[in-house]
Symmetry: D2
């Protein structure tokens, strides 16, 4: 059994990792760290898991983690991973980092939107963990920068079409809507129940740090500089992310051509489901799952393609994709531990 | 006191009319009709209003309504108004219709998206009831076609800019999000609690009947044919509508120029609030009110203007605007009966 | 115009006071204090009120408040009012305190459940502000201890029956359910959206500080020591409180006798609505209003009376009742400023 | 592989059965029936399950079902099962019925609350499927009457205490709160989103048909006639049921004695979790699981025991318990197919 540590286990992404990994048949959770809950049983923080694991949360120690674990998930706020991951890599551990610290190829881009980067040398070998696009590289990675939730929901539907040259790369608008869990477990008025209920709003308009992330990856795929006008919104629900993408086709295309191409592009990708033609994605249909559902509509009269994607921001948008990447690194079926039957409601 | 009838009083738009009108100081509610609840006290259908009115719902009768009311609100499903309104107009009644039957200038457009129109002659004199744009015409109208909720949320932020020529009229995308009350009180799986909770989805993509409505009005304002790619979405909340509009400026403009222009365009319009520069609209801030809040953001790098509007779909999007139009027709302050202090949450 | 100060104006109860008072025709808001938001316009904290008041939040100063206001509402955390109210009373101001500091007749009870009381002398003259029960005393009060939300929802339905001797005073169970706004605007995991959504739970079982408050008042009304087993629960909604009370009738009674007696007990109380026999209270029906709806059911076979009450915890449970008390103190109709027509949904 | 049919597969309980059974390692789903959706793929009705099963919904035919299935789950409205189950039993099929038709020992009780019973002879051999109490009988049952959700939430916490004689059998009040999925997928105003959101209400006060069900079972366990004052309430959430029980201890007992006794009573029952002393049940902690969490509190001063239970009404309250019963009938571990790790939120 591969031994696993989750650092930052009591945040929402961390807890979701714990959920998935404690039901994963090929690995064993050995260390959970939590600054805030060190000393407490994990299931006293999340009583739903009572009966499913006995672990007690610990403070972080590189020795303890390195001795007890083979693969380490870091579900920590930006900046902390770049401080602790280099040592773990030196000790020959494999790391899957859920922060933004190892997602960028260009340190300058990271530094423009986050802060000075103290482990730039690792950016060269870190692999961007969008499982469907980079499975080969992930299989051999020592360090995976797990994608942000918004970029996942934008890149999966767009990358094949941009690579194919079927989309005007300057025409893209991505209007995203996220459930509140995306803001994490840290207290803030933005996640305060009475401020969220009956509230729908945009935030960080044209300013969100996931914007350069999706643009860097899409530009690589398109082999030209792709701009995305990106506006995230907050939905009064816990989990789920829906992105509506508007783009101008670069040539005359039928809906069938587009859909067929996407079906074949993701033919071997279990977790991408292309919706039937008469159906559209719905966050409820992917809740608690690692799926990314994608649907299409062509607005002929206005020459605009509408692409809609739905994911669970905590699963395919964070913990689920991280485990999918771990499976790739372990050389096992990417579905292992992630194939629970979804809830009908 | 002007005497008022509300036809279709027990639907959500009708009930909202009853709420506003029973608190209105210058009018008196005299007749409420409801096919489903004829014979029942209105406050047995909506117990919240107990103590605020004594009226009993009736079946519709043109004689009864004409004798007892001076102004008639029709909050009925499409098609019924065009059957009953002509007679009311003949009897010299004033009518404010909340359906789509009298919104279009072009009968052909109506017929392409709805059904054959049986009262086309009235379309010539009917006034489109977007209070801020057509207040003069509304003052003298006998028949007002009250705007749809989506068109209200799209036209108010765009009309001045299109008229001014500041927006590329082929560049417009409107991504709208509506609370569930927009689907009305009629039972349907779309409004079934467990199908809505934790669900976010688009519907009628590129197909919604409010699309030609907004295009007809915007084209008139712009004096050229305006296309809008319009995608409505359903939000798990009761009330509220937020529309995020993406458009390419037709010339170099600063955010300040745009905002200043909009502030002056709506200077005399109490119910349009232009947000402070550091703030964005939120459906919670307009809940239960007749306001339309509008905010702006310029995405320089991608040459795209983002405009966000928020309304309460049942108030400014339906019943509130209808009462605002009635006030204009009565020659009284447009705020009368609509200036309740909003709830902080 | 009577001049009004609200201390603690940016908490939820404070903001609700601001909402009601800024629409009140007989008073003028002159001072709002807020430790956290001193210096900011109130409508920048609560943008929904933009256009309805211009006030800027201030730090608390006894001079400023005393000079600018005649009646002072204190919507502050427990313990602060007992420190600042004595001085305001000395300066001949009238005070309506929404904390627990002046609710108890017995200082010892307060001290057992809260902390040492530093203004005990004021407890003798402070009036418990349950408007319907103590309107005479409130009219002449200098200091009103405004009731807790739970006690309001328990005392109004029980007091007349206990006073009449129709209920076994040792048989009472009160199972209460409150919306999340009851926990206020202070950040806490209990009000964090993802912890509340799809969550229903009891809290402070048999331990809540509103328990002695309701027992003290009910004992006074019953003229014997009344015990209440009280369990509050948290409902995933913003506003509203429903209390289901179980009690054994002290004698053979029909449902009609009980209902008729309650109707006559509250005949002159506008804000108590006794439900029709075939109907039960619903928090949605009192949302945003000052009503307390009460319904009854007799479980013959098990000799148990079920009484259900519904209020809006922020209105009749806090700010609305406080304004109702102010109206009584001003000698004006208790409905003034509180008679907005309720929303149907 | 045991072959399974689910009749009424597209209702909420049916769909939940499909979810659990299609992930169950020891059985194979072979037939799904649905009157409303006959001819449609199951995953077109519930797209979340796309990729997890290929079955098409069928009309009911006794031949088809008998030929293709060994065990049959009937998730149908009351009255239909008593019409079709006798024939299935005659054909030597095993049946687990989720309606009320086979829950009662006394036909007269059923007939007093439902309708005339047309298959009374089966009531003698039908086993009440409360897995924890009747596992032995269930193992050998041909026909299981699967318990109602409310009875499950009331009986599990009370049965051991009543059997032990520790509770005054005439003192019991059960105040239950259920998520909206309990009302099923059939359209009704009670489940209409805008009528549920921000609404909390009681319904069928003292009148609910689950009341005689819980009383019959508790009376058998207590060996005396047990009365329960039972009031169900509706919570604005999809899944979850919390019951707060109030009862008078029959003798002096400490909280520790009660808790220890309950821990030992359910020592071998995986799906009953007795909460730690400092913790209370929460519907969020059992969401999507087959657990029943139970907590206790003793109100010494008022001599009243408060017991709180939480279940997911669709799982332990319906489909999950049905599968647990199937596992018992198959002689396999009761957890099979039901041990998915719960979600932290």
């Amino acid at each position: 059994m591969t031994r696993i540590a989750v650092l930052g286990a009591t945040g929402y992404a961390g807890a979701e990792l714990v959920r998935i990994l404690s039901g994963h048949p090929e690995v064993e959770l050995t260390v959970l760290t939590s600054r805030q809950h060190a000393g407490a049983r994990f299931d006293s923080v999340y009583p739903s898991l009572s009966g499913h694991l006995d672990l007690v949360c610990e403070d972080y120690s590189p020795d303890r983690v390195s001795n007890a674990a083979d693969i380490i998930f870091t579900a920590l706020p930006h900046k902390i991973p770049m401080e602790i991951v280099p040592e773990l890599i030196r000790r020959n551990k494999k790391v899957i980092d859920l922060s933004a610290d190892f997602r960028f190829k260009e340190a300058a881009t990271y530094e423009a939107f986050y802060q000075p980067h103290s482990a730039k040398e690792l950016l060269k070998t870190a692999v961007y963990g969008l499982s469907e696009l980079y499975s080969k590289q992930i299989q051999n990675a020592k360090l995976v920068g797990n994608p942000g939730c918004y970029p996942t929901s934008v890149i999966l539907p767009l990358a094949p079409l941009l690579k194919k040259g079927w989309i005007d790369h300057q025409s893209i608008v991505a209007d995203s809507k996220s459930g509140v869990s995306g803001a994490g477990r840290s207290l803030s008025l933005t996640s305060h129940f009475c401020e969220v209920s009956e509230s729908f709003k945009a935030y960080k308009v044209g300013d969100h740090r996931h914007n350069p992330e999706m643009e860097e990856v899409l530009s690589i795929e398109a082999r030209k500089s792709v701009n995305v006008t990106f506006v995230p919104h907050l939905v009064p629900m816990s989990r789920g992310m829906l992105t509506t993408i508007y783009a101008t086709p670069a040539q005359n295309l039928t809906l069938k051509e587009i859909r067929d191409f996407m079906v074949s592009s993701y033919a071997n990708c279990h977790f991408v489901r292309i919706c039937p033609e008469d159906s559209v994605p719905n966050t409820l249909f992917v809740r608690g799952t690692n799926y990314c559902d994608i649907g299409f509509k062509l607005d002929h009269r206005r020459s605009r393609l509408v692409i809609i994607s739905a994911i669970d921001n905590l699963v395919k948008g964070a913990a689920g994709q991280a485990v999918q990447n771990m499976n790739l690194m372990l050389g096992i079926d990417e579905r292992t531990g992630l194939d629970t039957v979804p809830f009908p409601l």
